[in-house]
Amino acid sequence: MALTVDTALAVGLALQLLQITLVVAIAPLIMGLTRKVRARLLRRRGPPLLQPYLDLWKLFHKEAVVADNASWVYRRAPYVIFAATWVAAGLVPTYATGLLFSWSADLIAVVALLGTARFALALAGMDVGTAFGGLGSSREMMIASLAEPAMLLIAFAVALIAGTTQLSAIAALFATGDVGVRVSLGLALLALIIVGIAENARIPVDNPATHLELTMVHEAMILEYSGRHLAMIEAAAQVKLVLYFSLVACLFAPFGMAAGDKSWAALALGLATWLAKLLVFAVLLPIAETTVAKMRVFRYPAFLGSAFAAAALAVFLRFVSRGF
């Protein structure tokens, strides 16, 4: 279809906005699905699929209880967390590559944006000055410091193969399929899954459903939060999950994404495949979770270390397999 420049711009803008809204709109559903499946696996009926939407709605309309000595950091943090996560998620290719702003942040920048969110969250945890908040923040930062090197090596391995850190470029390249199946990619995938689990506070690193404070990490930080603030943080967590799903999808299963020509059919296909991928991941995750038990805090290094090892191996194997 022949378009003039500014209509092309308009279309591009529209597509970008579509993605940005989609990742937020769909996030609670995905979270609900994982909870549902998990409950099923535990022989419970579990909450309805749409329960997260209802929770958010409820929280939004409650009044927020704020500790006396809370500062503006405490109040602004939820919005910063949500915004950073959302922007990051909006820039990860989901159903189409080469979107209007896809170039404005590459893999490293996306990871860093999540870092911004984490920074805000950790500060929020320390603001009121409780034992649990500090505990959560310090553990969260420790986990992050273990996860980031692995993440960088993953980026390195992928960039070695794709010759770029530009997510949509990588996806476009891998989607063509002429890269083929690589050992390095497999290892990188493994590493990314482990990192993702740690980053999203899933079992075995953290238990989103725990009520024993000492085992909490993520929950411990937001212990003081309530009402809309809590809602923002919850939403951010859900968006983050979607982000990681689509990251895995676009790096390791980019098939079906709408490439250069944005024909409606291609877009529809891309959309469909993306949703399908999300559903699959949302089912796989709880299955994996139910098979393992929560770890002690100081076992994390070993766990994330394995991710680091895998990513490093991916890099080095890449060198070897290129063979020069």
């Binding site: 939004f60 404005s104 310090s138 809309r228 060198f319």
Partner: protein, 670 residues
């Protein structure tokens, strides 16, 4: 008048201010006068540097009839010098502005004011010097001037010790550089940089010179394990001087390395790059680990300087490696990343030290275990300090992230390198860099969280008051620079182009013309980043959501006491403290590296005594390098000291023995 002459006049101005301060004596008016004057001169120097850097003027040189006989003192202002002059004098200007207010709290101004100007003069002089003698002279003069500032508060024994270690290390570094110059000048005996550039030294000599330069300049910049003086000396000085020491003078060390290795030595083998990269990586990780474990705020900042120097040296090492393999654009990228980080760090580290100084004046405390809740008492300081923390933690959309992102991009180019050692080492260093970045995040969450957030841990903290306008203005300016450099990185990269062209022979493609002002270091397909868009998106989405939530959902809040899972204790000691925050990281990384040893003795139920937590962290550098060294020297001194107490007969015996030995030498000679 050539630019370099103007630069020399600025230096003369700084020196003159020093003299004037001495004459003015301890009068109250002296403080604002001195700092105001240095502010003006520094701004002039900034202007000069900018015009030279952006105007793309040809290098200008001046030869004064002083210095080494027959050679004279050569001074030269080229792109490299201009860039560092910009960094130095930007910091200097900010520090002066800050000092106008801060200096009023100084109880013995005569130990600070007369040396402030000369210190600035020394740093600028190093940047302009263009022969070995003037270079080392200004180099050591800078150390000397800063030393006087380190020992300004001379009644605390700790500061005296810091001053001693600092000056000793500085002289060690100078002697290393001296040896390096000795090698480089050896063929022609010509001590001018121009002459050394011309002279062709052997490969091994060049390599040795590079190593000596790394050690010499590294000891000034704070490479592990030459960093030991830094965390002692930087906190000892008054805070605006600490800012200069940490944010600016370490950069002069970096300049020294660049000048000697990239410019004077010129040709080198890629292994040099490998050494530098590894040194940088180790420095980055160790430095930030030290930082996380500190409880003294200023010392924490000083250690984080060590980390950032490590990051800079990673970039420089990569540049060396790429350049050695004739990969110009990659070298330019790495170099640009390093210099960009130099600029950034000088800005936000100064900002953070100013913040620490503000806290110090407001509460009289540097110990984070006694601070907290200051965000309520000093809101503006809190905001700017937060910006500083976020920049140094390399969070988008601020400037710290851009330079680290560029460094990562350079690292991602390393597969081009033919040497296998580099192929394997560089990704590992990249992981170290990531680790450093993450730990820096932890470190500054701790710094801000413990100092400004949470509940005050001491009455002093509870009674804090906001600092004066000058200090706030200085900090605010720097904060804005952080934001601008983060959102408009392209402009900074373009400004660095002349330097890259000078040292890597090519520059990055011009960025200013790109759509949306985004940053594309190599090629569009390769990688790009747009701080502006990210910033816009963040602000937009944040405010939008907030607005929507407040409009459509509830906006009401209720104040209530802390919940804390139902059993809140109002004693502030129940909070997570600085050292408890660091505990997980300490456990994970410190046990092996720092010999961290924690013991808890809990009173039995019914016992009334308090429980006790004891922790020991041992610095490997002291444990394995300096401790043994010092012990060895003392042991030798004790042994030899017996010679002070011999009888005359024994002394005669010594003489006799020496005589006999010499006679035997003569006897067997030929």
């Amino acid at each position: 008048m050539p630019e370099v002459a103007i630069g020399l006049w600025c230096i003369a101005g700084f020196l003159g201010i020093g003299v004037a301060a001495t004459i003015l004596g301890g009068r109250a008016i002296a403080t604002p006068l001195v700092y105001g004057a240095t502010l003006l001169v520094a701004l002039g120097a900034v202007l000069l540097a900018l015009t030279t850097l952006l105007g793309g003027a040809a290098p200008s040189t001046v030869v004064l009839p002083i210095g080494l006989p027959g050679i004279g003192a050569h001074f030269r202002l080229d792109a490299l010098s201009a860039f560092f002059m910009l960094v130095v004098n930007l910091g200097a200007a900010a520090a002066s502005l800050y000092g106008i207010g801060y200096g009023r709290h100084e109880h013995s101004p005569m130990r600070v004011l007369p040396f402030f100007g000369p210190f600035l003069a020394g740093m600028n002089l190093v940047l302009l010097a263009a022969d070995a003698f003037s270079f080392l002279l200004s180099w050591e003069f800078m150390s000397l001037a800063s030393w006087t500032l380190v020992v300004a508060h001379h009644r605390e024994p700790a500061n005296i010790r810091a001053g001693f270690i600092y000056l000793a290390m500085a002289s060690f570094g100078t002697l290393c550089l001296l040896l390096a110059f000795g090698l480089l000048a050896a063929p022609g005996g010509d001590f001018t940089f121009a002459g050394m550039r011309g002279a062709t030294v052997g490969g091994s000599a060049a390599a040795l010179a590079t190593l000596l330069a790394l050690v010499g300049a590294g000891s000034k910049a704070g490479l592990v394990p030459l960093h030991v003086w830094l965390p002692l000396a930087h906190p000892a000085a008054p805070s605006h001087v600490s800012a200069l020491l940490s944010g600016v003078m370490t950069k002069v060390g970096v300049y020294g390395f660049i000048r000697i290795v990239f410019d004077v030595v010129g040709d080198f083998s890629s292994w040099a790059g490998l050494v530098v990269v590894l040194a940088g990586g180790a420095t980055a990780v160790l430095g930030v680990l030290y930082a996380v474990m500190q409880r003294d705020l200023k010392r924490l900042l000083a250690y984080s300087t060590v980390e950032n120097i490590g990051i800079v040296f990673i970039g420089l090492g990569l540049a060396l490696a790429f350049r050695a393999n004739g990969q110009g654009p990659a070298a330019a990228l790495a170099l640009t990343a390093a210099l960009f980080h130099v600029f950034n760090h000088s800005v936000f580290k100064s900002l953070l030290f100013f913040g620490a100084g503000a806290v110090l004046t407001a509460t009289g405390e540097r110990d984070t275990e006694k601070l907290g809740g200051l965000i309520h008492r000093m809101p503006q300081t809190a905001v700017v300090f937060l910006i500083g923390c976020m920049s140094i933690a390399a969070l988008p959309p601020l400037n710290g992230f851009v330079s680290e992102w560029l460094t990562f991009q350079a690292i991602l180019l390393s597969p081009q390198l033919p040497q296998w050692g580099l192929k394997f080492a560089v990704p590992a260093v990249g992981a170290m860099l990531a680790l450093a970045a993450a730990l820096a995040g932890a470190c500054f969450v701790k710094a801000f969280g413990v100092v400004f957030l949470s509940r005050p841990r001491s009455p002093a903290a509870a009674q804090a008051t906001e600092v004066d306008g000058f200090a706030l203005t200085a900090m605010l300016t720097l904060a804005w620079i952080c934001i601008l450099a983060g959102t408009l990185p392209g402009l900074v990269v373009d400004a660095l182009a002349p330097v890259a062209r000078q040292l890597a022979f090519v520059a990055l493609p011009p960025q200013a013309g790109l759509p949306w002002l985004s940053l594309v270091p190599i090629a569009d397909s390769r990688s790009s980043y747009n701080g502006l868009v990210i910033f816009f998106f963040l602000v937009a989405s944040g405010t939008m959501t907030a607005a929507v939530v407040h409009r459509l959902a509830s906006r009401s809040t209720r104040k209530s006491p802390i919940w804390d899972c139902g059993y809140p204790l109002d004693s502030p000691v129940t909070q997570y403290s600085s050292s408890s925050f660091a505990q997980p990281i300490r456990r994970v990384f410190g046990t092996v590296l720092f010999g961290v040893h924690e013991t808890v003795d809990m009173p039995r139920p019914g016992e009334t005594r308090a429980g006790r937590f004891r922790m020991r962290v041992r610095d490997p550098a002291w444990r394995f390098v300096y401790g043994p060294l010092a012990r060895g020297v003392l042991r030798g001194a004790v042994r030899l000291n017996r010679l002070q107490f011999l009888t005359i007969r024994r002394y005669l015996a010594l003489v006799f023995a020496a005589l006999i030995v010499l006679m035997l030498v003569v006897a067997i000679w030929r």
